[in-house]
C-alpha cells in the first residue's frame, strides 16, 4: 500500500467545545478510522500538535486542540466485542459505554466502572481514569484494564499493569497526553440481572448524610448522595442517599425474572439549542433542588431499579447541557481527604451563601486511589456540582480551591475549565514523575490539548501558551 502523505489527511476545521459549552476552539478534525491513521497523524502532526477526542463529555478543554489536529476516536468503534469466560473483553477505544452495555448486559456482564453518563468512550474513560458509584469498593477504571494499545509519537506499544507499568499508569488519567489509546482489554463483572436493589434515605443535613455514608457504605456495592448546594442554614447539605447492589434473579418479580437481563436505556427527549443563558439561575435551582428533595422518599428499602435509572438518570435527556444556554456552565469537582470534613462543609456554605446557581450536586466517598500519577480519586470525600457561567465564579472558586488544596485535596482535570495553573503541581505532587514518562514517548511535544496549554501539564513553560519545542 502506498503511504498517504500527511497533507492528504481528510481534516476539516471545525469548532469544538467541551460538555460545559464554554469557549469553543477550532481544530482540524480527522476521523480515527484505524491505528494507521493515528500513527500517520502523530508522525506528521502539523504545527500545533494532536489530541484524541471521544464523545466530548469532559467539561472543559481536555479534548480540544486550538489550531491543531483532533483525532475523532468515535470512528474507532468496531468490531463488536466478545466477552471471554473470565469476563475479559477487547474493545476499540472509540466504543461508547452505551454500546458496550447493550452488547454485554444481555449476556450477563456489566462494566467495571461507569461514570454518571454512559455516553463516554472507553478511551476517554481511561484517559480520565473515571470513577463511579462503586469507587469505595472497586476503585476507578484503571484498576480493571489488563492491556492497552497506545499509539505514541515514538511508536505503537502494548502496555498494561505488568507491561511497561510506568507508561500504562501515566496513560491512565493522563488526559490523552501520552498517546492515542486504540484498544483496551478490560475485565467485566458478571451480573445475574439488569436490576438493582436500592435503598434510599433522605437526610435533613450534611452531617446526617456523611454519618450514614461513613457508617454504612461498605455494606453496598454502589453508593452516592445527591446533595442540595443551594439551601442554607439548618438544612445545609440536605441529601438523598441512594445505595444498592445488583439484584439476584430470585429477587425479581416473576414477570421480570423471565427476562432478567433485559436491558433498556432510552434517550426519551433531546433538549433543543434554544434555552436562554439565564434560565439556570439561583431561583430556578432552589425550586429544582426543593422538588428533587421532596420527591424522594424519606426512607425506602429494596426498591428495584433498572441499570439506566440507577446509574444514568441524566442520560434520559439528550444534550441536557443546552439547558444552560449559550454561555454554558462549568463543573467544580474536588476530593478532600477524610478528616477535612470542615473544608467540605465550608465549601458548601460558601457556594450556598454566594447564591451560585448550582443544580444538583453529588457527594461520594472514595476508596484508596490507584498508582496513576494524574488519577483524580484519592481516599476521601468527593463533591461535584455544575455552575452556570458567571464572572463572579473566578473569585468564589479560587477561594474554595485554596482551602481544598491546603487540606490536601485536588480538583478533577476532566471537569476543570478554570483552575489556576500554579495549583496543578501542588494538587498532583507526582506531576514531574508523569512528565518524565511522557517525555520518553513524546520527546518533541506532539501531543497537546487546550487543557495542556492552559494548565501546562506537560511542562512546556516558559513559553506561556505551550508552543512546542519544534515550532
Amino acid at each position: 500500500m502506498m503511504p498517504t502523505p500527511a497533507s492528504a489527511a481528510p481534516g476539516r476545521r471545525t469548532p469544538l467545545v467541551g460538555w460545559g459549552g464554554t469557549r469553543p476552539t477550532v481544530a482540524e478534525v480527522v476521523a480515527l478510522t484505524s491505528g494507521a491513521v493515528a500513527e500517520q497523524t502523530l508522525r506528521h502532526p502539523g504545527r500545533r500538535g494532536v489530541i484524541a477526542r471521544g464523545l466530548g463529555r469532559s467539561y472543559g478543554d481536555a479534548a480540544l486542540n486550538a489550531g491543531g489536529t483532533v483525532l475523532d476516536a468515535t470512528a474507532l468503534d468496531t468490531p463488536g466485542p466478545t466477552v471471554g469466560p473470565d469476563g475479559t473483553v477487547r474493545v476499540p477505544a472509540g466504543l461508547s459505554l452505551d454500546a458496550l452495555l447493550r452488547t454485554v448486559v444481555p449476556a450477563g456482564w456489566f462494566v467495571p466502572v461507569t461514570p454518571g453518563t454512559r455516553f463516554v468512550t472507553i478511551g476517554g474513560a481511561i484517559a480520565a481514569d473515571v470513577h463511579g458509584k462503586n469507587h469505595h469498593r472497586d476503585g476507578s477504571i484503571g484498576a480493571h484494564i489488563r492491556r492497552l494499545t497506545l499509539a505514541t509519537p515514538t511508536g505503537t506499544v502494548e502496555i498494561g499493569p505488568d507491561r511497561d507499568p510506568e507508561l500504562f499508569w501515566a496513560t491512565v488519567g493522563g488526559m490523552g497526553l501520552t498517546g492515542v489509546i486504540l484498544e483496551a482489554d478490560l475485565v467485566l463483572p458478571a451480573i445475574e440481572t439488569a436490576h438493582l436493589r436500592v435503598d434510599t434515605v433522605r437526610t435533613g443535613d450534611l452531617d446526617e448524610v456523611m454519618a450514614l455514608m461513613t457508617e454504612g457504605d461498605h455494606r453496598y456495592h454502589y453508593s452516592v448522595a445527591w446533595i442540595d448546594c443551594v439551601i442554607r442554614g439548618r438544612h445545609l447539605g440536605r441529601s438523598v442517599l441512594t445505595r444498592g447492589d445488583f439484584a439476584r434473579r430470585s429477587e425479581l418479580s416473576s414477570r421480570c425474572a423471565e427476562r432478567p437481563l433485559d436491558y433498556r436505556a432510552a434517550v426519551r427527549l433531546t433538549a433543543p439549542p434554544v434555552f436562554p443563558s439565564g434560565l439556570v439561575n439561583h431561583r430556578t435551582m432552589r425550586a429544582f433542588n426543593e422538588a428533587v428533595y421532596r420527591r424522594a422518599p424519606a426512607h425506602r428499602e429494596g426498591e428495584l431499579q433498572t441499570i439506566a435509572r440507577f446509574f444514568h438518570p441524566l442520560d434520559v435527556i439528550g444534550s441536557w447541557n443546552r439547558l444552560y444556554g449559550r454561555r454554558g456552565f462549568l463543573q467544580w469537582q474536588v476530593v478532600l481527604p477524610f478528616g477535612a470534613e470542615d473544608v467540605l462543609r465550608r465549601s458548601i456554605e460558601g457556594l450556598a451563601a454566594a447564591g451560585a446557581a448550582s443544580s444538583l450536586a453529588v457527594l461520594k466517598r472514595f476508596g484508596p486511589g490507584d498508582p496513576a500519577p494524574l488519577s483524580f480519586p484519592t481516599e476521601g470525600w468527593t463533591l461535584a456540582l455544575d455552575l452556570a457561567v458567571a464572572p463572579e465564579l473566578t473569585a468564589l472558586l479560587d477561594g474554595l480551591d485554596d482551602a481544598v488544596v491546603k487540606a490536601g485535596g485536588r480538583v478533577y482535570l476532566a471537569k476543570d475549565s478554570r483552575v489556576r495553573r500554579e495549583l496543578v503541581g501542588v494538587m498532583y505532587p507526582r506531576l514531574d514523575e508523569w512528565r518524565a514518562v511522557r517525555r520518553r514517548v513524546d520527546p518533541d511535544g506532539v501531543l497537546i490539548s487546550d487543557l495542556d496549554r492552559r494548565l501546562d501539564l506537560t511542562g512546556r513553560t516558559p513559553a506561556p501558551n505551550g508552543r512546542s519545542a519544534r515550532s
Binding site: 469557549r23 458567571a390 500554579e422 501558551n465
Partner: protein, 254 residues
C-alpha cells in the same frame, strides 16, 4: 489559553499606555497571571509606566512593541511581530485612540485626517491583523474599546464621533465574520470616562471611570462575544437619545 470565564494567560495591548488599557490589564492580572505585550508610541512615558505597572501587578513577562497609530503599516508590522515571536496571544485589546480638537479639525482638515486615521483606519488594521492571526491559532478574544460617541454622532465632536461610529460598525461586522472561528469579539462602549484624555472637561451625567470599564470588560469576557455598555444604563438611555429630534440633539453640549 483563555479559561472558561474568558480570562487570558497572554495579552497584547495595542495602545498600552492608555489609562483604560492599564486599568483592564491590572484587572486581568489581578484574576490570573499572564504575559503582557504592550504596544504603543516608541519611547512614550505612558507606555514605560504601563509596563512597570504590569510587572508589579504580577505579569509573568512584560515586553513592549513600538508602533505609531498614525501609520497603519507600522501597526500591521507590530501585530505580526508579536504573533511570530511570542507564541499564542489569548487576548488582544485594541485601546489606542485620540479625542482630537474639534475646532482645530474644522479649521484644518489634515488635523481631522489624523483623528480619522488613528480612530478608524488604524483600528481597522488592528482588527484585521489580529483576526487573521487569532483565526489561525484557532482561539482567542479581541476586545475593542469603542465609545458611545459613535452611537449617535454629536455636533460637538463629530470628527471623533464619526471615526468611532465607523470603528464600532467595523467591529460589529468582524464579530459576525469570526463566528465559528474560535475567536470572540467584545465591543466596549464606554460613556464619558474621567481620564487624562478628558481632563478639564466637566463630567456629564452617567460618567464612569477606568476601573468600572475594566470590571465591565472582565464580566463581558465570561459571556463570550457581544457588546457591552459602561455603565450599563447607557444602553437604554441611548436607545432613547437615538430618536431625539435633531434640533434638540445638536444642542447637546460638548
Amino acid at each position: 489559553m483563555n479559561d472558561a470565564l474568558g480570562l487570558p494567560q497572554s495579552i497584547l495591548v495595542l495602545g498600552g499606555g492608555s489609562e483604560l488599557a492599564r486599568a483592564v490589564v491590572a484587572r486581568l492580572l489581578a484574576a490570573r497571571p499572564a504575559s503582557v505585550v504592550l504596544g504603543g508610541r516608541p519611547g512614550s512615558d505612558a507606555l514605560a509606566g504601563a509596563a512597570a505597572e504590569a510587572a508589579a501587578a504580577g505579569a509573568t513577562s512584560v515586553t513592549t512593541v513600538a508602533f505609531d497609530a498614525t501609520d497603519p503599516a507600522s501597526l500591521l508590522a507590530a501585530v505580526d511581530d508579536v504573533f511570530d515571536g511570542h507564541g499564542d496571544v489569548d487576548l488582544v485589546l485594541v485601546a489606542f485612540g485620540v479625542l482630537g480638537d474639534q475646532t482645530a479639525c474644522e479649521s484644518d482638515p489634515l488635523e481631522a485626517v489624523e483623528v480619522a486615521t488613528v480612530d478608524y483606519t488604524s483600528a481597522v488594521v488592528a482588527g484585521l491583523a489580529a483576526a487573521r492571526r487569532l483565526r489561525r491559532q484557532g482561539h482567542g478574544t479581541l476586545v475593542a474599546l469603542s465609545s458611545v460617541a459613535g452611537e449617535r454622532v454629536r455636533r460637538a465632536n463629530f470628527v471623533y464621533g464619526s471615526a468611532k461610529a465607523g470603528m464600532d460598525g467595523f467591529y460589529q461586522g468582524l464579530t459576525d465574520a469570526l463566528v465559528g472561528s474560535g475567536v470572540q469579539v467584545v465591543v466596549v462602549r464606554p460613556g464619558f470616562v474621567t481620564t487624562r484624555m478628558t481632563a478639564g472637561m466637566k463630567p456629564p451625567p452617567l460618567a464612569t471611570d477606568a476601573a468600572a470599564v475594566a470590571e465591565a470588560v472582565v464580566a463581558a469576557l465570561a459571556k463570550g462575544s457581544g457588546t457591552v455598555w459602561v455603565p450599563g444604563l447607557l444602553r437604554p438611555v441611548f436607545s432613547g437619545l437615538r430618536h431625539l429630534p435633531r434640533p434638540l440633539w445638536r444642542r447637546v453640549p460638548g
